[in-house]
């Protein structure tokens, strides 16, 4: 087995795309996810049903299928998106469904009594959600979101199937030329291990900094 140092540099070219895609899809996921969670907890029945349906679909079907629907299927309906946009969209919609569930759990973990206390002081439902529930829910959900971030870094690799040149895509490209698939992908694997390690550490540090005594998170990270 031969390893070539130049691969490290060549693969690194795929890094920005991997990180970009992950970052953007998580951003979409958080925005949409919070909205979906609020809809499920506080919405009226039609909204609740809609949010549940969305979540059910995106959690119950494989990511690859979702990506292909966006990239290969949408053109059937006249919508043609670039590979990059498709990737971010599919990943974003997917992660939003999971994030919605984590956030919903966090909202419900805030003790109901606090909502009563807020209302008894004269706060409107909106105020109670904004000043009492949300600040706590955001803190409680952090470990799950960190987890999700790491997960998305790994699953972002799926965009190579629509010919995007992220870390995975670069790997495939290099390997297709020199046919040393195994060796190249060992390096790819090491790259992912490194990224995951670095990002987890950073996230853990962030969590520690904003911790409030007594406001512990219920779940444990993966």
């Amino acid at each position: 087995m031969v390893f070539k140092w130049e691969w490290v540099g060549q693969l690194a070219q795929g890094l920005p795309l991997t990180l970009q895609i992950t970052g953007l899809c998580i951003a979409i996921g958080i925005g949409l996810g919070v909205f979906l969670a609020l809809g499920r907890v506080y919405g009226k029945r039609p909204l609740r049903w809609l949010c549940s349906a969305y979540i059910g679909f995106f959690r119950g079907t494989p990511l690859l299928v979702q990506l292909f629907i966006v990239y290969f299927g949408l053109p059937n309906w006249g919508i043609r998106l670039s590979a990059f946009t498709s990737g971010i969209l599919a990943l974003g919609l997917n992660t939003a469904a999971y994030q919605a569930e984590y956030f919903r759990g966090a909202i419900q973990a805030v003790r109901g009594g606090q909502m009563l206390a807020a209302r008894s002081l004269g706060m409107s439902l909106f105020q109670a959600i904004r000043y009492v529930v949300l600040p706590q829910a955001f803190r409680l959900v952090l470990p799950s979101w960190s987890n999700e971030f790491i997960l998305m870094i790994k699953y972002s690799s799926i965009v190579f199937t629509v010919t995007l040149l992220d870390l995975m895509g670069q790997g495939k490209r290099i390997a297709s030329r020199n046919f040393k698939f195994f060796e190249v992908f060992i390096v790819v694997a090491l790259y992912y291990l490194a990224i995951v390690f670095v990002v987890s550490t950073i996230l853990r540090l962030i969590e520690r900094r904003i911790r409030i005594p007594g406001l512990g998170a219920p779940g444990e990270p993966h």
Binding site: M1, G56, F57, R59, G60, T61, P62, L63, L64, V65, Q66, F68, I69, F72, G73, L74, P75, N76, W77, N94, Y98, S144, N147, L151, K154, Y155, S157, I158, F160, T161, M168, G171, A175, F181, F182, E183, F185, I186, V188, A189, Y192, L193, V196, F197, P218, G219, H222
Partner: protein
């Protein structure tokens, strides 16, 4: 295409089996092994959970030929996904073992059982039951990962959908929506089945605290 989905199911069963055997082994290593075995198993878990599934698939598909072994895509996929699943399953099983009060082990030893026997007859049966919820969760979670086998190219459901698309471009959306529906159906059927199994094996009072397992598969 439906025929192809059967292959996915086969893959699912196969990889779960691999995952289960390995997972149990790794879990036992972590809990009862010494420091060396413990570190090895922790490292194993970390590696197989941090590397993307797709990368693993490529490694297991292209690796063996390098060493001169020819391997079918199906087997490669089973191994790749199976090893990956074992990393998660070991965590489930480990949690289950650790959820059993240590008093039980003490009681077993005090009636004269050897460590091995105590583990086999007292700890494992309970751990098995405790891990069922987590295990069923893993099962329904991993069913979606079988589509990733598409990248190593054998005739599972995604590939057949792709084939349809290549010949009739205008049917692409339909084809993939169909796949989606198949999986929704599978997930639903799986959950119901798992719920039933869970109920069948339940022992009142024997529950794992906070078995909030996460979906690590997409």
């Amino acid at each position: 295409m439906l025929r192809a989905s059967l292959i996915n199911i086969q893959l699912l069963v196969a990889l779960i089996a691999v995952g289960y055997v390995l997972g149990t082994l790794i879990a036992l290593m972590q809990v009862y092994g010494g420091r060396v075995l413990g570190t090895i198993s922790r490292l194993y878990e970390w590696i197989f959970r941090s590397i993307p599934a797709l990368v693993l698939l490529f490694l297991f598909y292209y690796g063996p030929p390098r060493c001169g072994v020819r391997i079918s895509p199906f087997l490669a996929a089973t191994m790749a996904l199976g090893f990956r699943s074992s990393a998660y399953q070991s965590q489930i099983f480990r949690g289950a073992i650790q959820a059993i009060p240590t008093g039980q082990m003490l009681a077993a030893r005090s009636v004269g059982m050897s460590r091995a026997r105590a583990i086999a007859t007292i700890v494992l049966p309970q751990a098995f039951r405790l891990s069922i919820p987590g295990w069923t969760n893993e099962f329904s979670s991993v069913v979606k990962d079988t589509t990733l086998a598409y990248v190593v190219g054998f005739n599972e459901i995604m590939r057949s959908a792709r084939i349809i698309m290549d010949s009739r471009y205008d049917l692409a959306m339909l084809a993939f929506i169909a796949v989606a529906l198949v999986f929704l159906g599978l997930t639903y059927a799986g959950n119901t089945l798992m719920g039933g199994i869970e109920r069948k094996f339940r022992i009142p009072g024997l529950q794992m605290p906070g078995a909030g397992a996460r979906d690590h598969s997409r």
